[in-house]
């Protein structure tokens, strides 16, 4: 961040504070929001579990220093302002006064330092990688936190949303075994809602945190998260008004269209900008014929991604052009495009010598179907049909969640489908899939396909530490061009999950993390 950008960020931050206060005036208070959580989270402490439902629910209970707008720029969270030193090494956050935990104890900068440097580095895989870059973290006074980095890390300001750096109470966790702390059941955070009751298998009941530091917030009295495992029952619950909000994959893609036309409901795909779910066909680059770039390029030509979006995802996606989502920072549309062309694919396959055998088949490839619902099975069938046109026989292999994780994490697969979040910055959510240093056997969501290119490694590393945005764009543009040419994975779609809610509720989506937000500003008109 240069001085000009820093000043702009400060202005934006200072502008956001009065905006929040202005909004606070005159909003009607009270009301219950019924919504869905699925699958049921194992625990509500987001520091110890980062499963999507845990984050959706825990986002109301735990907060962090910042939030991020739809443009992924930082907004005040528990920090009312922040400064970055010109060398990009020192980050100083000023906290809002009067923040309290749900047990009434004050939240201070000590809690922030303890959470980030002691708890999260032990329990939160993403945070552990981010805070490993910190040389020291200090709390010079109760409202000031200073992080000093070992070397510049451009997206450091992007590491403080409630899902990446939730703040937990030091007075509860210090000196204990964090994961086994009996207070985990109480889920003590600073968020606008606190846990009243969790009836396992039935519902989680959150009620207003009266000591919340933002004036008049929260407006709602309570939020009830219902656990409804069956997707047809979830759709029914939305239809008949039992619940007033659904998010992520609460309703199946094929159901979304009919809810768009239900008059009392509002529909949006906003609120997923920070996560920007990016999907691809993953090919084990170690195994023939996927170890040949021409084969992978042929795969790109064989997938009619527009048709895939329409037929499998019912239009709830956008065609992906490369490794970086168009919804996140540093996306470059000026990359090589692979149009749907069976002829081009066949030319490439012939060129590499992969000719049809006596049975007309060029290759037989095992495709491990991800066990995350029917849509993944349908996507697998779509791939099989697409590949058969070029004589490639895709054999679909079923497994369960644990089996899939085991096989992909240990590189024991040929092809599968994968989906990762982009996390607001390529250095946080994209590089991990392509850099050589992240080829780690036994580690899921690393560079499991085994792609390695020293130039790509260098570009990602330089872009992560460059403080100038234009320079970063230049580096990321280069890396996108190389990756799209080499096709380490076949990018298919940018998924656009819906948020569907009763129009009586306002301010449901206010930031780039959408339904993971605190919902302090949500009100019922």
């Amino acid at each position: 961040m240069n001085r000009r950008e820093f000043t702009a960020a400060m202005l934006a931050a200072s502008a956001a504070i009065p905006l929040g206060i202005t909004r606070a005036a005159g909003q009607p208070k009270g009301g219950t929001l019924n919504t869905i959580i699925q699958p049921e989270p194992p625990i509500l402490v987001t520091a110890f579990n980062q499963q999507q439902p845990t984050l959706t629910l825990g986002g109301k209970i735990y907060e962090s220093l910042l939030k991020y707008g739809a443009d992924l720029k930082p907004l005040p969270g528990m920090a009312q302002s922040w400064e970055v030193s010109p060398d990009g090494l020192t980050y100083t956050f000023k906290l809002f006064p009067g923040i309290t935990f749900h047990d009434g104890k004050p939240m201070t900068s000590e809690d922030v330092v303890f959470s980030c440097m002691k708890v999260l580095t032990e329990t939160h895989p993403r945070a552990r990688q981010n805070f490993a870059r910190v040389a020291s973290a200090e709390a010079p006074d109760p409202l000031t936190v200073v992080f000093k980095l070992k070397q510049p890390f451009a997206p450091f300001l992007g590491c403080f949303d409630c899902t990446s750096a939730p703040i937990v109470p030091k007075h509860i966790y210090e000196g204990t075994e964090f994961r086994k702390n009996p207070m985990n059941d109480k889920a003590i955070g600073t968020g606008p809602f606190k846990l009243k009751e969790w009836v396992r298998g039935s519902h989680v009941h959150l009620v207003r945190h009266d000591g919340y530091y933002r004036k008049d917030q929260p407006y709602l009295d309570e939020i009830i998260y219902r656990i409804i495992p069956d997707s047809a029952s979830r759709a029914l619950a939305l239809e008949n008004g039992t619940v007033q909000l659904v998010q992520w994959s609460d309703v199946e893609f094929f159901d979304v269209q009919r809810f768009k036309s239900q008059k009392n409901l509002a529909y949006t795909t906003k609120g997923y900008e920070y996560f920007a779910p990016h999907q691809w066909l993953e090919m084990n680059n170690r195994v023939a014929p996927m170890n040949d770039k021409r084969f992978r390029q042929a795969v790109m030509h064989l997938i009619d991604r527009d048709a895939m979006n329409k037929r499998v995802y019912f239009g709830n996606a956008k065609v992906a052009t490369g490794p970086i989502s168009s919804k996140t920072k540093f996306y470059d549309p000026k990359v090589k495009r692979y149009d749907f062309s069976v002829e081009k694919a066949i030319t490439l396959l012939d060129e590499m010598g992969l000719k049809p055998g006596a049975n007309g088949k060029r290759a037989e490839i095992k495709y491990l179907v991800p066990p995350y619902g029917e849509v993944y099975q349908r996507a697998g069938e779509f791939f099989r049909q697409s590949f058969s046109k070029a004589g490639i026989d895709l054999v679909l292999v079923g497994t369960d969640m644990a089996g899939w994780a085991d096989k992909v994490g240990n590189w024991d697969y040929e092809m599968t489908q994968n989906l990762l979040y982009q996390l607001g910055d390529p250095a946080l959510g994209v590089a991990r899939t392509y850099i050589s240093s992240n080829i780690k056997k036994g580690i899921l969501f690393s560079n499991t396909q085994g792609y390695s290119n020293p130039e790509v490694d260098r570009l990602f590393e330089e872009a992560a530490v460059a403080l100038d945005e234009a320079k970063r764009q230049e580096l990321y543009s280069k890396v996108q061009q190389i990756l799209v040419e080499e096709v380490p994975v076949a990018w298919t779609l940018e998924l656009e999950y819906p948020i569907i809610y009763d129009k009586a509720f306002k301010e449901i989506v206010t930031t780039g993390i959408g339904s993971h937000e605190t919902f302090g500003s949500v009100y019922k008109s």
């Binding site: 993403r126 495992p229 644990a402 994780a405 085991d406 899921l444 969501f445």
Partner: protein
């Protein structure tokens, strides 16, 4: 002196029974452990997978915490030692005692499955007996077709159709859940509320068992009605109601009790589909999720509890045999 010897003998019998029970449970616990661990998958990696990121140190820490870094036989030994001390351990995923998790869910499952079971048994055997008594009539043909239809109907489909009719179209019954959330009910109102929530899941679950018991009872009645002792009873001039109640029903019930005894155990753990469709907070869902997550302690705990329930139900079945057929007591003696 005789009294002392008799007490000692009973004591020995009880001790032998307990030793046998413990041995059976240990064998079951070992078998469960081997079976559960035979499936591919690592709980730590599943958890990392759900977090969308993984880190080698955190994975190692988790494996160490769960004891998964220890040799297989050591893990088995730890498991068996826990079983002997009635300690079911901690859930990997939920980080709570397994016993607590099971006890939270067991009442809802027992309420659902036992109600469905009793209903199916009562209505099924009654209808089956009536059909058997009028075998070959139009009523019997109608009964046979309907029971076959009920038997062939998928449980989840029936559940969804009931929801569509009674919740969506008519609005009479709540579509899912165990009770109305956040309602300020009195104790009596709460009981009625739960009963209202139970109607559709119980019907869906009972339907297939009702068909099974009815068909079984029908054929059993037909078989018994051709036995010599029935002919003798008729020749003796006994009234038909007495023949039916005292001779036919008692004998026809034996195969039904055998099948019901076997199915009761399966019912307790096997209501996954109905619990899913109706968002019923029971043991079936807990089991299903534990399988997906490779939450070994929860799975092993549930299997163990179910094994004990099945053993207990077998005991009850044996007792019922002896009640309805005194010959079994004599034979055993």
């Amino acid at each position: 002196m005789t009294g002392t010897r008799s007490t000692a003998r009973i004591g020995l019998l009880v001790a032998a029974w307990i030793v046998r029970l413990v041995a059976i449970i240990l064998v079951i616990a070992t078998f469960n452990f081997v079976l559960v661990r035979a499936a591919p998958g690592d709980p730590a990696m599943v958890m990392a997978g759900q977090s969308g990121a993984a880190d080698p140190k955190i994975l190692d820490d988790l494996r160490k915490e769960y004891g998964l870094d220890k040799p297989y036989l050591v893990q088995l030994g730890t498991h068996l030692a826990r079983v002997l001390t009635l300690d079911l351990g901690y859930s990997y995923r939920q980080r709570r005692p397994v016993l607590d998790l099971i006890l939270e869910r067991l009442p809802a499952t027992l309420l659902l499955t036992l109600t469905a079971f009793c209903l199916a048994l009562l209505i099924g055997t009654t209808l089956g007996a009536l059909a058997g008594l009028v075998a070959g009539s139009i009523a019997d043909t109608v009964f046979t077709v309907l029971s076959l239809l009920l038997y062939a109907t998928p449980v989840f489909w029936l559940g969804l159709m009931l929801v569509l009719v009674f919740s969506v179209t008519l609005g009479w019954l709540p579509p899912f859940g165990y009770e109305t959330i956040n309602a300020k009910h009195t104790a009596i109102e709460r009981i009625f509320d739960i009963m209202k929530h139970m109607i559709m899941p119980v019907i869906s679950l009972a339907a297939i068992y009702l068909a099974i018991y009815a068909r079984l009872m029908r054929s059993s009645i037909i078989e018994v009605s051709h036995q010599d002792f029935i002919k003798t009873a008729r020749a003796k001039g006994l009234a038909r109601p007495r023949i039916v109640v005292s001779h036919m029903l008692r004998n026809a019930l034996v195969p039904v009790v055998t099948v019901a005894g076997m199915q009761a155990g399966a019912l307790v753990g096997g209501a996954v589909v109905i619990e899913t469709v109706f968002a019923w907070p029971g043991l079936g869902r807990l089991t299903f999720e534990a399988v997906l997550q490779r939450d070994y302690p929860v799975l092993l705990g549930i299997f163990l509890i179910l094994s004990v329930i099945v053993i207990a139900l077998n005991l009850v079945t044996d007792l019922i045999y002896r009640l309805i057929d005194p010959r079994m007591t004599t034979e055993a003696a």
